[in-house]
């Protein structure tokens, strides 16, 4: 079968690989009908996530039709149409029982390795390095889904792939980020990064009752989408001083909550951006936390800093004194997708949101490497690519 494989920094190839088999009794095999490229995969593409190995199959946003189930699978049968969460969760452990699915204790066979880097291991993820299990991903014609009774949600209502595909990651991710802000009437929320997760964070903040949501980016098409499709007020950080503008807009107090939907490859045109690029290139820090620093400084006293953006290792010069002295709460984590599948599917069914608004490109899986390059370089006003195997 065809699969999009990683061979090194900015080296992807669609290769012919063996088809997946049932390896654990609770596995299911899916014929993938739609898959997408996640912004967090650009960190893999650019070689910033440790533990990638040549030949790894990428892809953690996918959906499809069940073609085979293992002997222990009860909830799914051949022919079911399902969306699969990007985090693999057993449903039985301490964390799964508390709906903290991305912290599953039993789904990462390489947990020992992750513990070396992070102290403790989170759940295994599809196609996201051998630190997180080395699981083959879904940018392929077929994919193996472990713990098939726990993760996948059945889609039985005739909604299009494009409307439900993003339940696998970015919609719940933006939603969880907004939920973490504990939004109260009258709240102003600022969102760094108007990529797909940023768009869903903006939308979700409004769904959860925010008065005003401010989107921050530099690409005109992303700012336009945030304004026109998600309803945000936008700031282009190349044109204005973000901290000044946010003070102006909030009577000097700052946004009630700030969302960093950028992560480890943050960009800045000034001297700070150059500083972090050099430090990252010299491996003096693994992640560039430019948006994160700004979000901390911008947040109002006693506010919430919500971080759905992905970080891998070490960051430098975090203004921790600002966090401590101003009583700021930090909430972060890989998304507990399973927790949000049912409620968010209901919102889609009710027409409260149509997640397909972020899609700018629908391409054949054969062109996945080209699509990664385009998405990475923000060419052709690319915001979200859906791939069809």
């Amino acid at each position: 079968m065809k699969a999009n494989c990683w061979y090194g920094k900015r080296q992807l190839r669609v290769e012919d690989v063996p088809e997946p088999k049932i390896l654990n009794k609770s596995d299911a095999i899916l014929r993938v009908t739609s898959t997408a490229i996640c912004g967090s995969e650009l960190h893999l593409f650019n070689g910033f996530v440790p533990g990638m190995q040549q030949g790894d199959v990428l892809g953690h946003e996918f959906m499809g039709e069940v073609v085979e189930v293992g002997p222990d699978v009860r909830n799914l049968k051949v022919g079911d149409r399902v969306v699969v969460p990007f985090a693999i969760s057993c449903g039985q452990c301490f964390f799964c029982k508390q709906s903290m699915f991305s912290l599953c204790e039993n789904s990462n066979p390489n947990a020992w390795l992750a513990e070396k880097l992070w102290g403790h291991s989170p759940a295994g993820l599809f196609g996201y390095s051998h630190l997180l299990g080395g699981f083959a991903g879904g940018q392929a014609e077929y994919v193996r889904v472990p713990f098939a009774d726990v993760g996948p949600i059945k889609i039985e209502n005739g909604l299009l792939d494009e409307q439900v595909l993003f339940l696998s990651d970015i919609f719940p991710t933006g939603y969880m980020a907004a939920e973490a802000c504990e939004i109260k009437p009258g709240d102003t929320i600022a969102v760094w990064g108007c990529g797909p997760v940023g768009q869903f964070a903006i939308k979700s903040a409004y769904l959860l009752g925010a008065e005003r949501v401010i989107g921050i980016d530099r690409f005109p098409e992303r700012l336009r989408m945030a304004r026109e499709k998600a309803g945000a007020i936008t700031l282009n950080y190349e044109d204005v001083d973000v901290l000044d503008s946010l003070r102006q807009m909030t009577g000097g107090r700052g946004p009630d909550a700030c969302i960093d939907a950028v992560g480890m490859e943050s960009h800045d045109h000034g001297i700070i951006g150059a500083y972090d690029r050099i430090k990252q290139a010299m491996m003096l820090e693994s992640d560039r936390p430019i948006a994160l620093r700004q979000a901390i400084m911008a947040c109002r006293n006693g506010g919430v800093l919500s971080i759905p953006g992905v970080y891998g290792g070490l960051v430098d010069k975090i203004p921790f004194g600002s966090l401590m002295n101003r009583s700021i709460t930090i909430r972060t984590g890989q998304t507990h997708v399973q927790r949000y599948l049912r409620p968010l599917l209901t919102r889609i069914e009710k027409g409260e949101i149509d997640p397909s608004f972020v899609i700018t490109h629908v391409w054949n899986l054969d062109r996945a490497p080209e699509a990664f390059q385009m998405f990475n370089d923000k060419q052709d006003e690319c915001i979200k690519v859906v791939l069809k195997p």
């Binding site: 079968m1 699969a3 494989c5 990683w6 061979y7 190839r13 290769e15 690989v17 063996p18 088809e19 997946p20 088999k21 390896l23 654990n24 009794k25 609770s26 533990g51 190995q53 040549q54 030949g55 790894d56 199959v57 222990d72 057993c90 449903g91 039985q92 452990c93 301490f94 029982k97 204790e105 039993n106 789904s107 990462n108 066979p109 390489n110 947990a111 020992w112 390795l113 295994g124 051998h130 299990g133 080395g134 699981f135 083959a136 392929a140 077929y142 193996r144 472990p146 713990f147």
Partner: protein, 320 residues
């Protein structure tokens, strides 16, 4: 080495013998001569490697005129001495040999000096004399044979399983379960009420390791102790305890195994790097036991698709 160890019950030999033979047993202190011996062993290994890789740099530093071949020969000697210090049953004879090596080196330095007229390079010579003095001091005081053997390896690991102590105890006590979380190359058979026969197939089907394990103590829902019977390839004694975690969170499992081979050896850093140190293997086994008890099977990616020859990689091999 194992024979002597089997003679001593590991638990008793461990602390007592060491304190008896060490004047000052403070860990890391230079007066603890077994530590000094390890440092000198490390110097041997390092110098040996340097002489093999960059013979001219070393010769240049010493100001000696020697062919690459000669320096490399010295390098091989140093490597052998270093290995001897780390793996030998006692470092003592190897330390005396190191002193002999120092004398040879000093002689080479004096006779082989490049610029006879300017005399010998005194820096390197002084260094050699100093190291030689340390070698002599350490060789005189290093712990004799029995003490070295008493320095046992210990592996400890913990896991929290969301099941009751009764269930965890029963799972562990059922010998059929042991291979399911320790290794699929392992077979365990009960041969008498108190004894079981273990067979471990070595990688590549080269050979089997076999030994008998005797149960020492079994307190239902609390503890199991066992030891390897004489004749085992590895002398070991272990205890697993089961303790109810507060708030109904399951069971804290703690395993401690004392091995009858030296705690420190050249193999140790390498096995740690490869994730195959006994303590790491024990911990990974406990994680698999947790998966078996909580979800009924051990998660794998062996056999999945990949754009390379093998479904898993060297990194997975280290991690699992």
């Amino acid at each position: 080495m194992t024979d002597t160890a089997i003679g001593n019950p590991p638990n008793q030999a461990d602390g007592q013998t060491i304190t008896a033979h060490h004047a000052c047993p403070t860990a890391g202190s230079l007066t603890d001569f077994s530590n000094l011996a390890r440092i000198l062993g490390g110097v041997s290994l390092g110098m040996g490697a340097l002489k093999l890789i960059a013979p001219q740099t070393i010769a240049g530093f010493a100001g000696a005129r020697r062919s690459d071949k000669m320096v490399r020969l010295h390098g091989l000697r140093d490597l052998a001495l270093g290995l001897g210090i780390f793996t030998g049953s006692s470092p003592q004879p190897w330390l005396w040999l190191r002193l002999a090596g120092d004398v040879v080196d000093a002689f080479a330095l004096v006779t082989g000096s490049r610029k006879k007229k300017e005399g010998v390079h005194f820096g390197p010579l002084a260094l050699l004399v100093g190291v030689g003095a340390l070698d002599a001091l350490c060789a005189r005081n290093a712990a004799p044979l029995e003490a070295r053997n008493a320095r046992k390896g210990r592996a400890e690991a913990n896991v929290l399983i969301a099941r009751s102590p009764e269930e965890c105890y029963r799972f562990w006590r059922d010998l059929h379960n042991i291979p399911r979380f320790v290794s699929d190359r392992l077979q365990v058979h009960q041969i008498s009420p108190k004894q079981a026969h273990w067979t471990l197939q070595l990688p590549g089907d080269l050979a089997n390791l076999e030994w008998n394990v005797e149960s020492l103590e079994e307190v239902p829902s609390q503890r199991i102790s066992w030891r390897h019977l004489p004749g085992s390839p590895i002398d070991a004694e272990g205890t697993v305890t089961f303790e109810a975690a507060p708030g109904g969170r399951g069971t804290y499992i703690h395993v401690q195994i004392d091995f009858g081979f030296p705690a420190q050896s050249v193999a140790e850093p390498l096995s740690r790097l490869l994730g195959k140190h006994p303590e790491q293997l024990l911990y990974k086994s406990l994680r698999r036991m947790k998966q078996l008890m909580e979800v009924g099977e051990v998660m794998t990616t062996e056999g999945q698709p990949a754009g390379r020859r093998n479904s898993t990689t060297w990194l997975d091999a280290i991690a699992r």
